[in-house]
Amino acid sequence: METTEVSKSLLSPSLGEIQYDEDQIIIFPSGLIGFEELTSFVMYENEDLKPFICLVSIEEPAIYFPLLDPRLIDTEYGSDSLRSELKGLGMSSLEDALIFTIVTIGNDLAQVTVNLRGPLIVNPKRMLGEQIILIDSKYMVKHPLQLVNN
Protein backbone atom coordinates (compact mmCIF):
# COMPACT_ATOMS: atom_id res chain seq x y z
CA MET A 1 0.00 0.00 0.00
CA GLU A 2 1.45 3.26 -1.07
CA THR A 3 1.03 6.49 0.83
CA THR A 4 1.43 9.65 -1.14
CA GLU A 5 2.85 12.49 0.87
CA VAL A 6 1.81 15.84 -0.39
CA SER A 7 4.87 18.03 -0.58
CA LYS A 8 4.33 21.68 0.13
CA SER A 9 6.47 24.72 0.48
CA LEU A 10 6.30 28.08 2.10
CA LEU A 11 8.43 31.15 1.74
CA SER A 12 9.84 32.66 4.90
CA PRO A 13 11.35 36.12 4.36
CA SER A 14 14.08 35.36 6.89
CA LEU A 15 14.60 31.63 6.46
CA GLY A 16 13.95 31.22 2.76
CA GLU A 17 11.90 28.56 1.04
CA ILE A 18 10.91 25.72 3.29
CA GLN A 19 9.74 22.40 1.93
CA TYR A 20 7.58 20.21 4.10
CA ASP A 21 5.19 17.29 3.96
CA GLU A 22 1.65 17.31 5.30
CA ASP A 23 2.59 14.85 7.99
CA GLN A 24 5.15 17.33 9.32
CA ILE A 25 2.50 19.88 10.17
CA ILE A 26 2.02 20.48 13.89
CA ILE A 27 -1.34 21.82 14.96
CA PHE A 28 -1.64 24.10 17.95
CA PRO A 29 -5.44 24.15 18.43
CA SER A 30 -5.24 27.17 20.72
CA GLY A 31 -2.44 28.80 18.78
CA LEU A 32 0.26 30.41 20.88
CA ILE A 33 -0.47 32.89 23.63
CA GLY A 34 -1.10 36.19 21.91
CA PHE A 35 -1.15 34.43 18.53
CA GLU A 36 -4.33 32.43 18.88
CA GLU A 37 -5.10 32.67 15.18
CA LEU A 38 -1.93 30.78 14.20
CA THR A 39 -2.69 27.09 14.49
CA SER A 40 -0.53 25.38 11.86
CA PHE A 41 3.22 25.20 12.09
CA VAL A 42 6.23 23.35 10.80
CA MET A 43 9.60 22.90 12.43
CA TYR A 44 12.52 24.15 10.41
CA GLU A 45 15.97 22.82 11.19
CA ASN A 46 19.30 23.62 9.65
CA GLU A 47 22.90 22.80 10.56
CA ASP A 48 23.65 26.54 10.63
CA LEU A 49 21.03 27.15 13.26
CA LYS A 50 21.66 24.34 15.73
CA PRO A 51 20.81 24.04 18.57
CA PHE A 52 17.91 26.28 17.58
CA ILE A 53 14.88 25.03 15.73
CA CYS A 54 12.40 27.40 14.16
CA LEU A 55 8.67 27.00 14.58
CA VAL A 56 7.36 28.55 11.37
CA SER A 57 3.76 29.59 10.94
CA ILE A 58 2.12 28.18 7.84
CA GLU A 59 -0.65 30.76 7.97
CA GLU A 60 1.83 33.65 8.29
CA PRO A 61 5.22 32.44 7.03
CA ALA A 62 6.84 35.73 8.01
CA ILE A 63 6.24 34.73 11.63
CA TYR A 64 8.45 32.16 13.30
CA PHE A 65 9.60 31.44 16.80
CA PRO A 66 13.17 30.29 17.54
CA LEU A 67 13.05 27.33 19.90
CA LEU A 68 15.54 25.69 22.22
CA ASP A 69 15.36 22.43 24.14
CA PRO A 70 15.13 23.68 27.76
CA ARG A 71 17.06 20.64 28.92
CA LEU A 72 20.13 22.23 27.37
CA ILE A 73 19.80 24.87 30.06
CA ASP A 74 18.44 22.76 32.90
CA THR A 75 18.65 19.00 32.60
CA GLU A 76 15.91 18.64 35.21
CA TYR A 77 13.46 20.77 33.28
CA GLY A 78 9.91 19.54 32.99
CA SER A 79 8.85 17.07 35.62
CA ASP A 80 5.72 17.04 37.75
CA SER A 81 4.41 20.48 37.00
CA LEU A 82 3.70 19.52 33.42
CA ARG A 83 1.74 16.34 34.05
CA SER A 84 -1.72 17.82 34.36
CA GLU A 85 -1.30 19.71 31.11
CA LEU A 86 -0.61 16.54 29.19
CA LYS A 87 -4.14 15.17 29.37
CA GLY A 88 -5.41 17.89 27.11
CA LEU A 89 -2.91 16.84 24.46
CA GLY A 90 -3.73 13.16 24.72
CA MET A 91 -0.50 12.14 26.40
CA SER A 92 -0.21 10.00 29.47
CA SER A 93 3.39 10.57 30.31
CA LEU A 94 6.03 13.19 29.84
CA GLU A 95 8.30 10.70 28.11
CA ASP A 96 6.13 10.95 25.00
CA ALA A 97 6.24 14.72 24.95
CA LEU A 98 8.57 17.09 23.20
CA ILE A 99 9.25 20.25 25.14
CA PHE A 100 10.50 23.46 23.60
CA THR A 101 11.05 26.93 24.89
CA ILE A 102 10.89 30.12 22.89
CA VAL A 103 14.02 32.18 22.48
CA THR A 104 13.91 35.95 22.19
CA ILE A 105 16.72 37.44 20.20
CA GLY A 106 16.75 41.15 19.71
CA ASN A 107 19.42 43.09 17.93
CA ASP A 108 21.60 42.85 20.99
CA LEU A 109 23.28 39.46 21.15
CA ALA A 110 24.12 40.07 24.77
CA GLN A 111 20.43 39.97 25.61
CA VAL A 112 19.19 36.66 24.35
CA THR A 113 16.58 35.21 26.66
CA VAL A 114 14.67 31.96 26.85
CA ASN A 115 11.11 31.72 28.09
CA LEU A 116 11.33 28.82 30.52
CA ARG A 117 8.04 29.80 32.12
CA GLY A 118 5.85 29.31 29.06
CA PRO A 119 7.05 26.16 27.30
CA LEU A 120 5.59 24.52 24.22
CA ILE A 121 4.54 20.91 24.64
CA VAL A 122 4.18 18.78 21.54
CA ASN A 123 2.67 15.33 21.21
CA PRO A 124 4.71 13.92 18.33
CA LYS A 125 2.37 10.98 17.72
CA ARG A 126 -0.63 13.20 17.11
CA MET A 127 1.34 16.24 15.99
CA LEU A 128 -0.53 18.43 18.43
CA GLY A 129 0.99 21.22 20.47
CA GLU A 130 0.14 23.70 23.15
CA GLN A 131 1.86 26.53 24.95
CA ILE A 132 1.42 26.31 28.69
CA ILE A 133 2.38 28.55 31.58
CA LEU A 134 4.04 26.97 34.59
CA ILE A 135 2.27 28.02 37.76
CA ASP A 136 4.30 29.26 40.73
CA SER A 137 7.50 28.20 39.09
CA LYS A 138 11.09 29.21 39.74
CA TYR A 139 11.57 29.50 35.99
CA MET A 140 11.64 32.88 34.37
CA VAL A 141 9.96 34.32 31.31
CA LYS A 142 13.25 36.00 30.45
CA HIS A 143 15.93 33.53 31.42
CA PRO A 144 19.17 34.99 30.10
CA LEU A 145 21.16 32.86 27.74
CA GLN A 146 24.76 33.69 28.46
CA LEU A 147 26.83 33.58 25.32
CA VAL A 148 30.48 33.01 26.02
CA ASN A 149 32.44 34.73 23.32
CA ASN A 150 36.15 34.21 23.00
Binding site: I73, T104, G118
Partner: protein, 90 residues
Amino acid sequence: MLILTRKEGQSITIGNNIQISVLEINPKSIRVGIQAPKQISIYRDEIYTKIQEQNRLAAEKVAGANLKQISSILAQNNVQAVKEQIEGRS
Protein backbone atom coordinates in the same frame (compact mmCIF):
# COMPACT_ATOMS: atom_id res chain seq x y z
CA MET B 1 -18.54 41.90 30.69
CA LEU B 2 -21.01 40.56 33.22
CA ILE B 3 -20.63 42.33 36.55
CA LEU B 4 -21.87 40.75 39.76
CA THR B 5 -21.42 41.67 43.38
CA ARG B 6 -20.59 38.89 45.83
CA LYS B 7 -20.08 38.78 49.57
CA GLU B 8 -17.56 36.68 51.40
CA GLY B 9 -18.59 33.04 51.14
CA GLN B 10 -20.65 33.48 47.98
CA SER B 11 -19.91 31.88 44.60
CA ILE B 12 -20.39 32.18 40.87
CA THR B 13 -20.96 29.25 38.52
CA ILE B 14 -19.83 29.46 34.90
CA GLY B 15 -21.14 26.93 32.42
CA ASN B 16 -21.68 23.64 34.16
CA ASN B 17 -18.25 22.91 35.51
CA ILE B 18 -16.57 26.10 36.65
CA GLN B 19 -17.13 27.66 40.01
CA ILE B 20 -15.54 30.76 41.49
CA SER B 21 -15.88 31.38 45.21
CA VAL B 22 -15.08 34.49 47.21
CA LEU B 23 -13.28 33.00 50.20
CA GLU B 24 -11.99 35.99 52.06
CA ILE B 25 -12.31 39.73 51.66
CA ASN B 26 -9.52 41.92 53.02
CA PRO B 27 -9.00 45.66 52.73
CA LYS B 28 -6.43 45.32 49.96
CA SER B 29 -7.14 41.99 48.38
CA ILE B 30 -9.62 39.19 48.07
CA ARG B 31 -9.04 35.48 48.18
CA VAL B 32 -10.70 33.64 45.32
CA GLY B 33 -11.15 29.90 44.94
CA ILE B 34 -11.66 28.39 41.50
CA GLN B 35 -12.93 24.96 40.63
CA ALA B 36 -12.53 23.95 37.01
CA PRO B 37 -11.64 20.88 34.96
CA LYS B 38 -7.93 20.22 34.66
CA GLN B 39 -7.95 20.93 30.95
CA ILE B 40 -8.87 24.53 31.56
CA SER B 41 -5.85 26.70 32.30
CA ILE B 42 -6.14 29.37 34.95
CA TYR B 43 -3.57 32.12 35.17
CA ARG B 44 -3.05 35.37 36.99
CA ASP B 45 -3.40 38.07 34.36
CA GLU B 46 0.08 39.48 34.96
CA ILE B 47 1.84 36.28 33.95
CA TYR B 48 -0.47 35.74 30.99
CA THR B 49 0.22 39.25 29.73
CA LYS B 50 3.92 38.79 30.31
CA ILE B 51 4.04 35.63 28.20
CA GLN B 52 1.90 37.24 25.53
CA GLU B 53 4.33 40.13 25.31
CA GLN B 54 7.35 37.84 25.33
CA ASN B 55 5.91 35.80 22.45
CA ARG B 56 5.43 39.01 20.54
CA LEU B 57 9.05 40.05 21.13
CA ALA B 58 10.30 36.63 20.14
CA ALA B 59 8.39 36.73 16.86
CA GLU B 60 9.54 40.21 15.98
CA LYS B 61 11.51 40.35 12.77
CA VAL B 62 14.51 38.35 13.79
CA ALA B 63 16.98 38.45 10.96
CA GLY B 64 18.08 34.90 10.23
CA ALA B 65 21.60 36.27 10.56
CA ASN B 66 21.24 36.84 14.30
CA LEU B 67 20.12 33.29 14.87
CA LYS B 68 23.06 31.99 12.86
CA GLN B 69 25.49 34.20 14.76
CA ILE B 70 24.29 32.92 18.08
CA SER B 71 24.27 29.40 16.79
CA SER B 72 27.92 29.62 15.77
CA ILE B 73 28.91 31.21 19.07
CA LEU B 74 27.20 28.38 20.87
CA ALA B 75 28.87 25.85 18.60
CA GLN B 76 32.28 27.32 19.30
CA ASN B 77 31.82 27.37 23.02
CA ASN B 78 29.40 24.48 23.22
CA VAL B 79 26.19 24.67 25.16
CA GLN B 80 27.74 22.85 28.10
CA ALA B 81 29.85 25.91 28.76
CA VAL B 82 26.74 28.06 28.52
CA LYS B 83 24.96 25.82 31.01
CA GLU B 84 27.82 26.03 33.47
CA GLN B 85 27.85 29.78 33.11
CA ILE B 86 24.19 29.98 33.97
CA GLU B 87 24.51 27.60 36.91
CA GLY B 88 27.49 29.53 38.19
CA ARG B 89 25.51 32.75 38.11
CA SER B 90 22.52 31.48 40.06
